[in-house]
Symmetry: C2
Subunit: 340 residues, 2 copies
């Protein structure tokens, strides 16, 4: 029984030094073919793998990217949004040969302990933060700790240098105009929470769209909290204003709204047309199938991971804010009839 399996031991087997083995492992140039061959043979024979912690300590790089999702509990359960985001970030992290660490805030009092864990030196190289609510203290902590970070979503102030977001405002505008083009005139909105930038942007874009179409919202604005129940409740309130078209700011709220329409004895799209946001409800899951503004969540996650990696590697010096376009996917709930 010799040493534990480490660079030195592999070097002994291959008749070279620690340094040469390190060069081979890291794919560096300036290693002779014969030496590289013997080293690779020794590695293959022993199944040697470099020790991640030792590498991190010496190089000051861990190869771990963090994904921070505050206040996840309420939504992660039944909103596929975060699943997709995680999937996108995970895929890109794998492609970068890095590891993804997940930090979910269960409740407020977890926040401090988790933040302090995130900013621990030698644990993660940087983090992706989903800035769901405005004024989130997480970002300030990250900046103070000098930890590289990329925000998913639009940061609420100039505090973040790097962000990846979907075009909430543009998408909401399209939704409003589409409802108009479907012949609706009394159009309302169920907005996401107004303490989120996504909520504000979708509301703003919606109002812009209506205004450009020369239609007044007439106060038909109700706020939900991402859940189906809140979507249903908001729709009930909108019905009192006599709506014939509704833009629901998220799929889950749209599903709730759809159920509420039915529960009220009305038909969708005949009585109330519905346009959703997210594009996460699979075909066939609802009837009528939801017309929705589709945001490329998976790509957002991917891009955020890649951007973070670039920032960590120092490849990016200026700030960068990526906005993915959102697109209209027409299905049944808006009652749209194409001219033929």
């Amino acid at each position: 029984m010799g040493q534990r399996l480490n660079l030195e031991e592999i070097g002994r087997m291959a008749g070279v030094s620690r340094s040469t083995v390190s060069r081979v492992v890291n794919g560096e140039p300036n290693v002779s073919n014969s030496a590289a061959k013997r080293v690779k043979a020794a590695i293959a024979e022993t199944g040697y793998r470099p020790h991640a912690a030792a590498r991190s300590l010496a190089s000051n790089r861990t190869g771990v990217l963090g994904l921070v999702i505050p206040s996840a509990v309420a939504t992660l359960f039944d909103d596929p949004y975060f699943g997709r985001l995680i999937l996108g970030a995970s895929g890109e992290t794998n492609a970068l040969d890095a590891t993804l660490a997940l930090f979910l805030f269960e409740q407020d009092n977890d926040e401090n302990s988790i933040i302090s864990r995130v900013v621990n030196p030698g644990l993660v190289d940087g983090v992706i933060v989903t800035a769901t609510t405005m004024g989130d203290p997480v970002i300030e902590h990250l900046r103070q700790a000098n930890m590289p970070f990329v925000v998913v979503g639009r940061p609420d102030d100039g505090s973040a240098s790097y962000s990846v977001d979907a075009d909430n405002r543009g998408g909401a505008k399209i939704a409003a105009k589409h409802l108009v083009s479907c012949g609706r005139t009394r159009i309302g909105i169920i907005t996401p929470p107004s303490n989120t930038t996504a909520g504000l942007d979708r509301r703003l874009g919606f109002l812009e769209g209506l205004e450009e179409a020369g239609i007044d919202a007439g106060g038909r604005i109700e706020e939900g909290n991402w859940t189906e129940a809140s979507g249903a409740a908001a729709l009930m309130r909108l019905l009192e204003s006599g709506v014939d078209g509704v833009f629901a700011g998220s799929d889950r709220m749209a599903v709730g709204a759809l159920n509420a329409i039915r529960a009220a004895g009305l038909r969708c799209p005949e009585d109330v047309a519905l346009v959703s946001f997210d594009g996460l409800v699979p075909a066939g899951q609802t009837s009528p199938q939801l017309t929705s503004i589709v945001q490329p969540i998976n790509e957002v996650g991917q891009r955020a991971a890649r951007l973070l990696k670039s920032v960590i590697d120092g490849e990016i010096t200026t700030s960068e804010h990526v906005v993915f376009p959102t697109t209209l996917a027409i299905a049944e709930s808006c009652g749209f009839k194409a001219m033929t």
Copy 2:
């Protein structure tokens, strides 16, 4: 500008040695009050946090638990199962003051690179593996690498020493008996894939339940692949056998089956009663609301994390297989009428 912030530097500020600071940081006994006080003051003043990689290297413990989910893509998108599992594991990991690393296999060719990353020394202390398919090579790799692991689900052979699972068999048995008690006689099943232990167990339990009730399945067994589409297709095939009651082996397949029942012009529960498995469909999402066998996924994730931690800490020497009970949650889709 002195040193980088480390134990030595804090020690200098507090007038003690590296060792004493280390003891304070780790909450060890045998430190005088005055020394501890000065050290804590220095830590508070500087915002010092121990370097995770250095600690890992020296102690051979990283404080990171891995969660491995093979073949996640297909299901993670729209099945809340994995979201809940992640949530449960994450919550417990936080409670243990550890960090959760997520390893999702995107596709088969990711598998090798991810496995080798997982077994990297100095990265994670141990892993939770969701053993979705039988004969999965991941477990063998983990064993060879001598990496502590806990399986979520029932391992398909005696290969795992530690596992956490829900009582699939018992739950399926209850489902079958419940359909019988609802007066159904031509009862079929939509099983999860038979290359998963969950699929086998649910099928087995279902058949047992029918047998004990003195009813023959009569070949009304169709296999799905967890998706709604497969559930719908399986139900169509079952209809040809003339079923009046169906046990769907997962919520997503049940939703698909429900849609297929409607599409066939039949009513649920009047024409075909339906019992699901998972208990993940929120009330109001389907009409009729699904009667389901509920498995405590969140608790499974929690328990797996805690068990893994115990294994890593060497607190458990014998093997341990935890099975959580599953319960029947009666709603509308089974057509059950309580005696009053």
